[in-house]
């Protein structure tokens, strides 16, 4: 496949017009734990399986579902550390919005800003502080595969040098504001969609099929919670069946 040559560098398109790194990021998401969200008539539910690597892990310390504002929450599938960075940035964005407009941030705005952050990391090294000359010093200490770096040369090189990669998480942002309950899924590429019900991570196809069958537009919040749990159980059951 001609794509393989282009799979290292994030900032190079492959001949088929894809950014292969983002495809790989989506694979990373697909191998993460299942999480799903359902929009009900009077609220939104997000749920995820909290699977710990061992029984010795203190489960109270692991928080997969995080609060961004008093009326917006988020769950992720994929790499936990990446999600922490995004949660931190989103919280800060929400706080800055509140300080500026004295109004709690609408869900769409927060999703847009989070998606913008994720997109930045697919195009440039944005998000890191501009270190200027120090950056150039650091550049010298990195060994490049093929290119020769001239002293104080091309500044554009530094963006591919310092290992910037896309986020390896997809987020499900659930919120309730003036426009009612809302559910958004944000992908590593920075694209986001509003969903009535969505799932991501392992077993996503089974989960989505199950949700499609069970979802109704006038669902109440309690029904939605029940459905969410059943969907998660379904995925779990499938796994169990595979082993036997």
């Amino acid at each position: 496949m001609g794509d393989s040559q282009y799979s290292f560098s994030l900032t190079t398109f492959s001949p088929s017009g894809k950014l292969v790194q983002i495809e790989h990021a989506l694979t990373a998401v697909g191998s993460g734990q299942t999480s799903l969200g359902i929009k009900a008539a009077n609220g939104v539910v997000i749920a995820t399986e909290k699977k710990l690597p061992s029984i010795l892990v203190d489960e109270a310390s692991v928080q997969k579902i995080q609060v961004l504002t008093p009326n917006i929450g988020v769950v992720y599938s994929g790499m936990g550390p990446d999600s922490r960075v995004l949660v931190r940035k989103s919280r800060k964005q929400a706080e800055q919005y509140h300080r500026l407009y004295k109004e709690s941030i609408p869900v769409t705005q927060l999703v847009r800003e989070t998606a913008a952050v994720m997109q930045e990391f697919t195009q440039s090294g944005a998000g890191r502080p501009m270190l200027g000359w120090l950056q150039t010093i650091l550049d010298f200490n990195v060994k490049l595969k093929k290119t020769k770096l001239r002293a104080l040369g091309n500044m554009s090189h530094k963006k591919t040098l310092l290992g910037v990669r896309p986020f390896g998480v997809s987020l499900l942002v659930a919120g309730f504001d003036d426009n009612g309950p809302q559910l958004y899924q944000v992908d590593p590429s920075g694209s986001y969609f509003s969903w009535k019900a969505s799932a991501m991570g392992k077993n996503v196809s089974n989960a989505k099929t199950f949700l499609e069958k069970r979802y109704t537009d006038d669902m109440e919040l309690d029904d939605a919670v029940h459905t969410a749990i059943l969907t998660l159980k379904e995925g779990y059951m499938h796994l169990k069946l595979l082993f036997f």
Partner: protein, 336 residues
Amino acid sequence: MQRKVALKITTTLCTKNGCLDAGTIERVQSLAFLIPQAFVANTQRSLHWFLRLRSSSIFQVCVMSKAVVDVPPKGGFSFDLCRRNEMLSKKGVQTPPFRKTGTTIVGLVFQDGVILGADTRATEGPIVCDKNCEKIHYMAPNIYCCGAGTAADTEAVTDMVSSQLQLHRYHTGRESRVVTALTLLKSHLFSYQGYVQAALVLGGVDCTGPHLHTIYPHGSTDTLPFATMGSGSLAAMAVFESKYHEGLTREEGINLVSEAICSGIFNDLGSGSNVDVCVITKGHKEYLRNHQLPNPRTYVSAKGYSFPKPIEVLLTKVTPLKEKVEVIEGGDAMEE
């Protein structure tokens, strides 16, 4: 700090150029030795010294490090415009008056928590610009802050720290502590060297108990069982000093605070109008806005106010300014 920075640049670049011969290393080392002395005198001069070495890479470095030298310090008050302001005031241009809360703000610790009180007058020089402003600002669900001084400064500072506390709460998952707010406020005020004129009384109840602090515009703080700030602080403090005792009940505390504020309202020109009170206890807070209104508008004329009658209309005549000319030509073939 700048010295170290320049040193780093030279050494790294020299070696990377590939010329790892003894000569270069020697040169670098001699540079490193001579730099401190040069820097002691003047950074500019040492840079010129670099240039004389005639090494292209080092020359380029000098240009870079000069840029480093010009980087402004992060945060804090920037004194860039002070000279210009001085020059302007000498020429007679006066700074515009700003809104101040010539104020009485008080706080005291009672048996279950903290009570804060404030008056509600905001002044612009000799004029009362707001007869019912809010001086007790929200910091956290369990922490409130009264502000005296320049109104914009107190509002901006408390707003900013309130935002920071909220982010901190999200990250730690815990209730904010009063000392956290205290430290954030004092370090901000200190970095602005007193130019942010905000004198604050910070009070709240957290997991370690009730706390009351005062923060001065330069960044110093006090921890006290009862405190007053603002232009009416002496009047209020007189009341506190004579009547405060430990173990006040809620009613006693509120009455004492109201009395102190009223003393400020009636004896200080910079304070007036109404009394605001805020009671904070463990897990509960009560913001009593306009708890007392000792300055109602008493005299309203019974007759009402009569304004002079408007002039009667005797005649109406409209004279258009331009004559409307209608041009009739042999119409176009297109019309009709």
